[in-house]
Every structure is written in C-alpha cells, then in structure tokens.
C-alpha cells in the first residue's frame, strides 16, 4: 500500500517538478512569476492534438512541432509583452502574466470549447507494469523517466554549455553579466523559450492522463507554483524537490487521511512552511537595503 502510494506521488510529483522548474528559471532571471505558464503549455498541447487528429501526423512530428511552438510562444511573450511593461514593479509584472493567462485561456476556450478530448499518446495510461505488489501505469513510468531525463538535461545545460553559463550569470547579476559581454536581452528571451518548452512537456505528459481541455494545466500550474514556493522560487533544485515533496504529501494525505481535501492540503502545507521560512524551504531570504 505505502509503496503504491509513493509511486503515485512520484508520478504526480514529476509533473509538479517540471512546472516548478519552468517557473523558477524565468523567475530567477527576471523576477517575473509567470502565471501564464500553464495556459502557454495547454495551447502547445492543443497544437500537438490538432496535428495528430486533423492532419494525421505521427507522435514525433506532432510533439516536435508543439515544442517548437512552445519555444516561440515563450520568446514572443517575453519580447512582445513582458519587455514592454513600463516601470515594472512586482505587482505589475505579476498582473500582466495573469492577464496574458486569461487571454490565452479565453482564446483557447473560444476556439476549442469546453469539450474533453482523448489525447493520443505512445504509451498507455491503462497498461500496468508490476514490480512486486506495486503497479504503475506505463504512462506513469514514462512520466517519471522523461521528467528526470529532462531535468538532468536542463541542469547539465546550465552547468556545461556556454549559453547555459551565460544564463546563470544573468540570473545571478544581470548588470555584471551585461558588462562582461553577455547579451542579456537575448538570454532573457531564451530563458522564457526554454521555460515554455519544459512547461509544454509537462502538458503533453498530463493530457493523456486526464483528457485534454482548456483547464488542462490549472491544477498542475497551481501545484507547480506551490511546489516552487515550497522549495524556494530562486532555487531550481529546491523547486524540483518541492514538486516531488508536494506530490508525495498530497498522495499520502489522500490515501490515509482524506481524499476530499487532497488539493487543499497542498496550500495548507505551503502556508505553514512560509510562516516559518518566508522564502521557501531551500530559498534564501533577501532583505532590502536602506
């Protein structure tokens, strides 16, 4: 029983961790908490769906095009909207991402309605792999594996490639990075592109589990956000750990205490954690200098 619950928690946690990571890499670079992340990913998943059903393309083509679309959408959002916010404050950038989220949600709903669609996927959500007395769907296994590989890839990218290092430099001190010749504007744009792709992967993994509709990413986004806040919005590793932790706690709570309030427990948990550590479990607190 316990092992089963943990496996379920890891699979849900993988999605939360991906969304949290996507949020954190843009937050760290620009201090923008991107609430539009989820809807950007949802629209990308619809792109894949349309290609597969209306144009009968294969999985590989559909998913690749969806990820490229997500990349362009991320860069476009940064270049067309975020960069043009005048005298950005914490409040105004947060509000502008909420506005973009609403607009995307509305556009998607206008185009695709509220209908729930079966999302074709190479591995099934019903087929089960058994290890001892634990059974996990092949989709669950794929979700865990793909997210781990992607996250390792992202961390390797930041650590070992020239571009990744430039991005990290921009995250730590944008002014110093610019002085040292890093094209910070392009780097910020790319960060949004990459973040959007990570979010889209989460959406593509989520859609076959709960069918595709315009509210696909609501729950994952909120949980991913909660996870990022839990771990600390300025620590990518912390956010990923926060994602898995949240997935586990949620599933344990659902299994042993109450299924009904499973979602509420996530927020109870972050309120409790934030009361003691206002910048999350692994984040550092920044105080303003006067």
């Amino acid at each position: 029983m316990l092992a089963q619950v943990i496996a379920g928690g890891l699979s849900a946690g993988s999605i939360y961790a991906l969304v949290a990571l996507a949020l954190v890499i843009t937050y760290k670079t620009t201090e923008v908490p991107n609430f539009a992340q989820g809807e950007m990913a949802m629209v990308s998943a619809f792109v894949a769906y349309i290609l597969m059903t209306d144009y009968q393309t294969g999985f590989f083509v559909a998913f690749s095009v969806a990820l490229v679309f997500a990349f362009v959408l991320g860069i476009g959002f940064e270049a067309v909207i975020l960069r043009r916010v005048r005298n950005p404050t914490h409040l105004s950038v947060l509000v502008v991402t909420l506005g973009f989220q609403l607009a995307l949600f509305g556009l998607a709903g206008w185009k695709w309605g509220a209908e729930q669609r079966q999302f074709p996927f190479p591995v099934s959500a019903n087929e089960v792999i058994r290890v001892g007395d634990v059974s996990v769907s092949t989709l669950g296994v794929a979700t865990i594996l793909i997210s781990v590989v992607l996250m390792v890839g992202v961390f390797a990218f930041f650590r070992f490639t020239k571009l990744g290092v430039a991005m990290q430099a921009t995250q730590q001190d944008s002014m110093a990075a610019r002085i040292n010749g890093v094209p910070t504007r392009r780097v910020v744009g790319l960060t949004f592109g990459i973040s959007s792709v990570i979010g889209a992967v989460a959406a593509l993994l989520m859609a076959p589990v709960i069918t595709l509709d315009t509210t696909l990413m609501w729950d994952p986004l909120l949980k991913g956000f909660a996870a990022a806040v839990l771990g600390g919005l300025n620590t990518p590793v912390g956010a990923v750990l926060g994602g898995y932790l949240l997935g586990l706690v949620e599933n344990l709570f659902g299994a042993y205490i109450s299924v009904e309030f499973k979602s509420a427990v996530a927020f109870l948990m972050i309120i409790l954690v934030l009361c003691f550590r206002p910048s999350g479990l692994f984040g550092r607190h920044r105080t303003r200098k006067v």
């Binding site: 908490p33 506005g99 949600f105 509305g106 206008w110």
Partner: protein, 383 residues
C-alpha cells in the same frame, strides 16, 4: 501662503455649490433609473453595484496597501454563505445577517493577513490563491453549506418591506454601494488610508514614522474582506441561489482586473472598472445578443473559432484589458482621465474646485484635493 486656517477644504468631499448640484443630479438619476429601465436591466445594475462594492474593497488592499490578492472570490463566498446561513439557520433578519456576513469575512481577512505579514509578491499571490480555492473546496464538501448543490436564498425582508423584486433590491444595493464609496473615500484621505499607502510605497519608512506595519497590513486585509463579504451577502439575495461553483478562481482574477483597469489606488477608477467588469461578466453568456457587435462576433465564431466557445470572449477581453492597461497606461482609467485633463487643459475644463484639483493632482491618486473621489465626482457621474 495660507491666510485662512481652513484646512478642512483639503479633505472635504463636496466643496461649493456645484459639487452639491452634481451629487443631487447623480442621486436623482440613480433614484429614477429603476422606474424607467426594463425589468431585466435592473438586475444588471444590482449586479454591477455589487461589483463596485467588491472593487472598493480590492482597491483598499491592492491599490492602497499594495498587497496582491488572487483569492477575493473566497471572501465573496464567505460573505454570501454566512449571510444566508444567518438567515436560514439562526433565523436572523437580513438587516442583521448582512453585517454579520461582513464581519465574519473581515475575520477571515484578518487571518489571511497574518501570513501576509512575512510574505511578498509571488509568495503572497500563491497563498491568497490557495485560500480562495480552499474556501470553495471546503464549502463544497460541507453539508451545512449545501455541498456542491449550493443553497437557495430565502426572501430577505427589511422590517415590513419584502425584498422580493429587483427594484427594492436595487435601492438597497445601490444605496449600500454609495455609502461604502463615501466611507472608502473618507478613509483614504485620513490617517488610516495614508498609513496604507505609506506601506505600499516604503514599509521601512512607514515603520520609522511610527506606523505599526503589522497592524495596518492585517487591517487592510480585514477591511478589504469586509467590503467583499458585504458584496457577497448582497449577491446572495440578488441571485437567489448560491453554490461554491459561483466563486471560482477566474472571478478572483476579474476582481483584480477591475482595479487594475480602473487605476490602482483611485476610487473613481475602481468604481468605473468594477462597473465595466460587472457588465462584461454578466453579458458573457449572451454576447451574440449585443447590438451591432453581436452578429459580427457570431459570424466570426462560426468561421474561425467555435460558436459554443463564444462566452470565452469575455475572458479574452478581460485578459487583454489587463495586459493593455499595464503596457499602455499603468494607472488605468484614472490615468487616462488625468491625461485627458492635461490635453484639454485646465482652462477648458470645469473651473469647479473639485475637478480642477483632480486634474492638477498629476499622477497622485492620493492628493487631498481629489475631491471627486466619491460618488459625486465627474468620472463616477458617468453611470
């Protein structure tokens, strides 16, 4: 140099005969409206007036104190359910149930304000968002609140008057909105409102002026919640039926949108923004019935989008309004009004002290001269 020691004019709302005349005209128009409007339109006005009350509350928290909230639909729900349960379970008259609803909501606002003492920006956003979701989830799972099915609201009475028709509700709701707008405006020009805005601009400086930051932040949450909860109680008697599904996350976003669009920190802005968003929210199910625009939207939907998804245009409009406001005029309608005043020039405008002061107030929403920040002012007079 001021020769007269009459500093009251700095904070006075109605100065000179003209502003009194304007107030009288506004009140007269509002009083006559339900007599000449078609029946279903009165409901629209009631709904918009409730949004105005919520907008005034949002403005205290977001506009003045600079704290973000993505959970005000939760406060609306608490106010609505408390008011109804006071009537059905306790048997209290509506006149008692409504303020109790507001007070209970204020208590929840105070509680939500406690974590806000240590949290900023996105951290606070996510906590308030979680609060809003948790409220509807808990209400939905509790038999007392009617579960997911919701509650039927009994007919409210005010002494001998039964509030069964939309017209009698209209006078109650619009009257409440006017009184609360006056209260909000008074608060904003006196000591407490100033302390709120001081916290927004610099918490550290506010504290070194002797402002108890913790007290005023939680107070701001409580007050904002009280306004919203009162709106919730009025919403309950307006719609006649409440269920947790009515108080969804997108409604919280819409509440945020109304103060952003109206202009953060401006009371006339909040009033106008709320009226606009209230109207939009109500018309969402019937865009195709709009004059002129309706058929265009419908044929466009059939051609390129989907006609079933037409109500979603409301979210597109709300979202775009938010984005465009932040990109083009971060001070919203209030900022546009000031710009307009600058273009037209002070000479071309009303020479009335109130209007002149608003035009001269520049970007400051808080100038003691913004006397039009009440129901009698020119921007609010447009409705």
């Amino acid at each position: 140099m001021r020769s007269t020691p009459d500093y009251y004019s700095d904070v006075q709302l109605f100065r000179g005969r003209r502003s009194w005349v304007k107030l009288a005209v506004l009140l007269a128009v509002l009083a006559i409206l339900p007599l000449i409007l078609p029946g279903y339109r009165i409901f629209t006005f009631n709904y918009m007036a409730i949004f105005v009350i919520v907008g005034l509350g949002m403005n205290i928290l977001v506009g003045d104190t600079g704290q973000v909230s993505l959970g005000h639909a939760g406060f609306l729900a608490i106010g609505a359910f408390t008011t109804v349960l006071m009537m059905t379970e306790v048997g209290a008259p509506f006149l008692l149930a409504l303020p109790v609803g507001g007070l209970v909501t204020a208590l929840f606002g105070f509680l939500l304000g406690l974590p806000a003492l240590r949290l900023q920006g996105p951290y606070l956003a996510i906590v308030t968002l979680g609060f809003g979701l948790a409220v509807t989830q808990i209400i939905g799972h509790w038999e007392l609140f009617g579960g997911h099915m919701g509650l039927v609201v009994p007919t409210a009475t005010l002494g001998p008057i039964s509030l069964s028709g939309d017209v009698s509700k209209y006078y109650l709701i619009v009257g409440t909105a006017l009184v609360l707008a006056l209260c909000a405006r008074n608060l904003s020009v006196t000591r407490v409102g100033r302390a709120f805005r001081a916290i927004r601009d610099s918490e550290i400086a506010a504290a070194t002026m002797g402002v108890n930051v913790a007290y005023y932040k939680t107070l701001s949450f409580a007050l904002s919640a009280a306004f919203t909860g009162t709106g919730g109680g009025l919403l309950a008697i307006t719609t006649g039926f409440i269920s947790p599904g009515d108080f969804h996350f997108l409604l919280s976003l819409m509440f945020l949108a109304m103060v952003v669009f109206g202009g953060l920190g401006s009371i006339p802005g909040a009033v106008l923004g709320s009226i606009a968003m209230g109207y939009l929210n109500l018309e969402m199910d019937a865009f195709e019935e709009l004059p002129l625009l309706g058929p265009v939207l419908e044929s466009f939907s059939d051609g390129f989008m989907s006609s079933a998804g037409l109500p979603n245009v409301g979210w597109v409009v709300t979202g775009l309004l938010i984005v465009l406001t932040i990109l083009i005029e971060p001070k919203g309608l209030h900022g546009l009004w000031i710009r307009l005043g600058k273009i037209v020039g002070r000479g071309g405008m009303d020479t009335d002290a109130a209007t002149g002061a608003l035009a001269g107030a520049g970007a400051s929403s808080s100038s003691p001269g913004s006397a039009s920040a009440g129901p009698g002012g020119p921007p609010a007079g447009g409705n």
